[in-house]
């Protein structure tokens, strides 16, 4: 944690990458900076006009001249107002656009990731990337970056004006700079260290807090309240230590700027005053100098305050880029074809697959299906049934061997084209918020209501939908429909996508008998005219399929036509025998 938090990306690399996102808006950025420059310069007018009033008009007792200067000042203010408004608005527009781009990019990139990425990364963390981290980065762009520019302009501007007014006095005032630079450097090194350590403690603290909230049952079950509190409090204490360290550094540094500022004014008193006495300098210049010096140290203080924001934003951008730099595991190897259609032939040819390292889940797996045939896969828990589905839909990449569709290798088919031809029905049905209608036409958004109703009728889901208060327009909330009904809904959803290949992970015992009967009917209806692969949990399913694959620890034990397997009297035969035995015992009773 400590290691990869620290030196994965260098700060300036990150900064440059953030800046790259400004490129599409470079002309807007240029305009914003120009406006900023104008505002900074106009803001310098005050002390200079004061000087003019004192030296040129007050001295001469010229009331008219004072009126004129007041008029000039007013117009400066008006322009400054307009420019500043434009600049603020423009900068926000740019910041929002960059945030929009970045957020869309992160979101799109997440959608490019394969399932193994989602297996590894908790959802909460990914949400933080898309939502919060991008938000923080925006803050840095709009307030942080711009303020740095405006502070810099102000600093340079004041320096130039002072130099113009009296270069000797300026040089004398410069004596405080080495001290200021040294103090700033000392502060920066220490503050950065404290902020970094603080960040690590904060993230540790937050993840511990989150863990305890999510696992509060377990904490209470094991009477861990006191112990966990002690641990939390000690991490919290560590954080407080770093917090107080930051406070202390700020408490030293910020007043030191004030001190240097006063020192510089003292210089003006002494050297400037002396030269005035010798008539080498005008009074107005001294006044302007004092006013400029008071303004001069504001940006420096400002920059130090912004330091914190920028550090946090750096951490966020680091996490965003880390995500964006995660390579797509299954890149689009071939371009999508417009009218891609499969016949439905499927062949697994010596397929090897492992989720991790070389712990193979599928070992040299081969089988083939003709278009329109149905296959039941049977096997114990962990034998690799679901893995076959994951490989078929190219959710994961297979190590060795090949999967052929209509004789074409899976590598030569665009993965999105392929998935459009396959419908997947899983045991745990995930439904999205929105109406029933939206959920059914997930894979085919243009489908009309009538078509959907006829599909629903075919898979026996029409009945329960008609009984809902808003029928197909019913918004789905938790607990509205039972798990059996969810299953039926997922059938309709699968058929609405009009697939050539249907993959079905049969639901286990979570439904009552009536729903089970409906589900069986639905399955029969769905598999009509489609190549279908069913992970079978019920004997009744086995009676309807053309082919059977018996799987053990990732290897094929038996594969063939159902009838042939029965004649071979192998394992499948044994499975069916027990069914018959049971039926007989029922009859005898």
């Amino acid at each position: 944690m400590l290691l990869n938090e620290d030196h994965r990306y260098k700060d300036w690399v990150l900064f440059k990458r953030v800046l790259v996102h400004l490129k599409p808006y470079s002309s807007l950025v240029a305009l914003a900076i120009l406006l900023l420059l104008a505002v900074s310069i106009l803001n310098l007018a005050g002390p200079y006009l004061t000087k003019v009033v004192i030296d040129d008009h007050i001295k001469a007792g010229d009331m008219k001249g004072v009126d004129v200067i007041a008029g000039v000042y007013l117009s400066v203010l008006v322009f400054s107002f307009i420019f500043q408004f434009c600049q603020t608005y423009l900068m926000q527009v740019i910041g929002q656009k960059v945030m929009f781009d970045l957020r869309s990019k992160v979101f799109s990139h997440l959608h490019k990731m394969s399932f193994s990425y989602f297996d590894r990364n908790p959802i909460g963390r990914m949400i933080t990337r898309v939502v919060n981290d991008v938000e923080v980065l925006n803050e840095m762009l709009t307030s942080g970056l711009i303020l740095v520019f405006s502070d810099l302009f102000t600093l340079i501007g004041i320096f130039c004006v002072m130099f113009y007014l009296d270069w000797r006095l300026t040089l004398v005032v410069c004596v405080v700079f080495p001290f200021l630079v040294t103090a700033t450097r000392m502060y920066r090194v220490r503050a950065r260290d404290a902020l970094r350590k603080n960040r690590i403690h904060v993230s540790e603290l937050n993840s511990y807090l989150e863990e305890n909230i999510s696992g509060v049952d377990t904490v209470q079950c094991f009477n861990r309240e006191t112990k966990n509190y002690e641990k939390f409090s000690s991490v919290n204490g560590e954080r407080l230590k770093e917090d107080l360290r930051t406070v202390r550094y700020n408490a030293f540094y910020m007043p030191s700027i004030d001190f240097f500022s006063s020192l510089a004014i003292a210089m003006v008193f002494w050297y400037g005053g002396g030269r005035y006495v010798q008539d080498e300098i005008q009074l107005g210049i001294l006044v302007a100098f004092i006013q400029y010096l008071q303004k001069f140290f504001e940006p420096i203080r400002d920059l130090a305050e912004k330091f914190n924001i920028i550090q946090t934003a750096m951490a966020s951008s680091e996490r965003i880029f880390e995500l964006l730099d995660t390579p797509e595991q299954i890149p689009e190897s071939v371009p999508s074809e417009n009218d891609f259609k499969l016949q439905g032939d499927v062949e697994f040819k010596n397929v090897w697959f492992a989720y991790k390292d070389d712990r193979y889940i599928l070992k040299d797996l081969s089988f083939s299906l003709k278009a329109g045939e149905s296959l039941a896969i049977v096997g114990a828990t962990g034998s690799g049934k679901s893995t076959i589905i994951n490989a078929l839909c190219q959710f994961y990449k297979i190590e060795k061997g090949d999967i052929l569709f209509d004789g074409h290798s899976i590598n030569d088919i665009n993965k999105y084209d392929l998935r459009r031809q396959i419908s997947l029905v899983q045991q745990d049905v995930f439904l999205f918020s929105g109406s029933i209608l939206d959920n059914i036409r997930l894979g085919n958004q243009e489908m009309g209501q009538e078509e959907i109703e006829s599909i629903s009728q075919a898979v026996s889901s029409h009945n329960f939908i008609s009984n809902l208060p808003f029928k197909y327009e019913q918004e789905l909330n938790k607990g509205d429909i039972s798990s059996g009904e969810r299953q039926l809904l997922s059938f309709a959803r699968a058929i609405a996508a009009d697939p050539k290949i249907l993959v079905l992970d049969e639901a286990t015992s979570n439904v009552d008998l009536e729903t089970e009967r409906q589900i069986q009917n639905g399955i029969k209806e769905m598999t009509q005219g489609r190549t279908s692969i069913i992970i079978a949990h019920r004997l009744s399913t086995l009676m309807h399929v053309d082919k059977v694959l018996v799987l053990r620890k990732g290897e094929v034990v038996e594969f063939g036509k159902r009838k042939e397997l029965l004649q071979q009297k192998g394992i499948f035969y044994q499975l069916c025998q027990s069914q018959i035995r049971l039926e007989q015992s029922k009859v005898e009773k």
Partner: protein, 580 residues
């Protein structure tokens, strides 16, 4: 106001620091106010051609003032900001401890993300209110009063003229802050919409990818995002006018000061030095003017934060620990009599009149479809909820009268999706008790069938789990959770579908080991897979919150009811597990 009051004790604890901070602040402010006056004196004396010593006197004076100023500023930063950090530390500690005391009924209504944001963002708002907010308020009030007094003292007429635009600033401020706040709420609401969208997308990502909905979802997201920008820009519209307006108003004030002041100097109403000092005081005013608005903003956020933090603090657990010193021995029976339970906000009872006796050392099997009340029953035993009516008796004592700690030590509960902490495997297993010998842990690891798995991990028992370490399979998690529960040496072991990710071979092995090593432990086994409970002494079938069938396996199969048909529908699965 009550919300604010709840935080007083935290402040009171650090009242000395608070006092120091305020004193330091006032000292610093006084010094700041002296500087323009010093400049006035300096400028007024210059035309009289002072000697070098006289000039040096001013320099020295300024130097001294700066020193005091530095000390003052250092003081208020250290004390006020330090104080707010310490308050945050205390509140966060208390919040954590309070969160751990709340019960499931409360947690069911919460979202983790929301609780997190209360403990982080809202608490930060509270901190900023107590640190920055109070500081700026005092600072601004003091400086405004003093600076205005000085300006009036220099020249009343000039001061009145200069102050003309200033009330506009305050009025605008209140309007702007309100408007910004309103528009900001819209932004926040939209942001949570985006969060929800992303959350749903990621939860259902497998379905979305299977249905090739990537492009559609991206477009939907883009639209949401676009709206978000619009709402953000609406804030900017106000904000963009706001800051320049402030600068403008103060600018106009200094313009008037320059204009009228300049004329006054010429008319000999005030000295040049007073004119400069007047400007200096006006400059000092510009920050507090904005500061007042900032305080308003901080206060608003702080109060919202306090309300939200307090919602957690004011929540009371509905499960009351009645204390006492009764420790169940595990020698008596477990009796459930007439239990009824209803979840809040649900129409139907989750449990209806459950009556059950589990003799000590026996095994009870529970089956039933999802939502039939199996897990609810287990949670009532743990007192995650209290029943609406009826009672549960352990060793002849109502569980209401058993201290929570004792009750939870008595029960070992393993759920289907156990929660493991991101620490070492050892710490996860030894969760229930502090002092753990290696041999004891290893024994439980062995019983839970994790020995060979552990050997394949890089650091064996010390291997870290989660983000920082290995990712465990569902089966491995379930077995570590089993080892963790067994390590407590519970008298009652509840397995809530906790073998669902294991193959039947492993499951059978585990059941056998449990039987030999934990012979005297009363066991409740909830399972979807009937093979798990085949040998239980007593099996109940739950339907809609009540017991519909009861008996041992052969009795239930013979009776030909729900259990029998369930048994039949699992025939294939079972045969497969046996044959394959």
């Amino acid at each position: 106001m009550n919300n604010l009051k709840a935080f007083f004790p935290y402040v009171r604890k650090y009242r000395r620091e608070f006092l120091f901070g305020i004193v330091a602040l006032i000292i610093a402010d006084c010094m700041t106010l002296v500087v323009p006056w010093l400049i006035k004196e300096f400028i007024d004396i210059l035309p009289q051609k002072p000697a070098v010593e006289q000039l040096l006197k001013y320099v020295l004076f300024l130097f001294l003032i700066s020193l005091v100023l530095v000390v003052g500023r250092y003081g208020w930063r250290k004390y006020m900001f330090g104080l707010s950090r310490k308050i945050e530390f205390d509140i966060l500690n208390d919040l954590f401890s309070h969160l751990l005391s709340l019960d499931r009924l409360w947690y069911q209504k919460q979202k983790t993300g929301d609780l997190m944001s209360r403990a982080t963002n809202d608490l930060r708002a509270v901190r900023e209110f107590f640190g920055l907010g109070i500081l700026i308020l005092i600072d601004a009030a003091f400086v405004i009063v003093m600076a205005v007094t000085m300006m009036i003292w220099i020249n009343v007429e000039l001061a009145l003229k200069v102050f003309i635009p200033l009330p506009v600033v305050s009025i605008l401020f209140f309007y702007f802050v309100k408007e910004i706040g309103k528009r900001h709420v819209a932004v926040q609401e939209h942001l949570s919409k985006i969060t929800e969208h992303v959350q749903e997308n990621l939860s259902g990502i497998r379905v979305l990818h299977a249905f090739v909905q990537e492009e559609n979802e991206k477009n939907k997201f883009k639209k949401l995002n676009q709206e978000y920008i619009q709402k953000n820009l609406r804030v900017t519209q106000v904000f963009g006018v706001f800051t320049p307006t402030m600068v403008f108003a103060i600018g106009v004030a200094s313009m008037i000061s320059l204009w009228m002041g300049g004329r006054a100097v010429i008319a000999n109403d005030i000295t040049l030095g007073s004119f400069v000092a007047f400007n200096g005081y006006l400059m000092l005013l510009s920050w507090p003017m904005m500061g007042i608005g900032y305080v308003f903003n901080l206060t608003q956020k702080g109060l919202v934060g306090m309300t939200r933090v307090n919602e957690v603090f004011f929540a009371k657990p509905s499960i009351i620990d009645n204390g006492g010193d009764f420790t169940p021995t595990g020698k008596g029976d477990l009796k459930i009599s007439g239990i009824r339970f209803k979840y809040p906000n649900e129409l139907q009872d989750a449990l209806k009149e459950i009556n059950l006796t589990i003799p000590c050392g026996q095994t009870l099997g529970i089956v039933g479809v999802i939502g039939s009340g199996k897990t609810t029953l287990a949670r009532l035993l743990l007192r995650f909820y209290d029943p609406v009516s009826g009672d549960i008796w352990i060793d002849g004592k109502s569980i209401q009268e058993i201290p929570l700690k004792g009750l939870r030590d008595y029960i070992g509960y393993v759920s289907q999706e156990p929660f493991l902490f991101s620490t070492s495997i050892r710490n996860n297993i030894a969760l229930g008790r502090g002092n753990a010998s290696d041999s004891e842990i290893e024994k439980n690891v062995e019983i839970a069938g994790m020995t060979s798995d552990l050997e394949s991990f890089p650091d064996h028992l010390e291997t870290m789990i989660g983000e920082k370490g290995v990712t465990l399979s569902g089966g491995q998690k379930q077995r570590i959770a089993l080892a963790r529960a067994l390590f407590k040496k519970p008298s009652l072991l509840i397995l809530d579908d906790s073998f669902s990710n294991l193959d039947s071979e492993m499951e059978e092995e585990l059941l056998l080991k449990l039987k030999t090593h934990f012979k005297d432990t009363t066991k409740i086994i909830i399972s979807h897979r009937l093979s798990t409970i085949l040998n239980a002494d007593n099996i109940i079938v739950m339907e809609d919150g009540s017991i519909s069938e009861q008996g041992n396996h052969s009795q239930l199969v013979k009776s030909g009811g729900v259990y029998a048909s369930l048994f039949r529908s699992q025939e294939l699965a079972r045969e497969m597990e046996i044959i394959l």
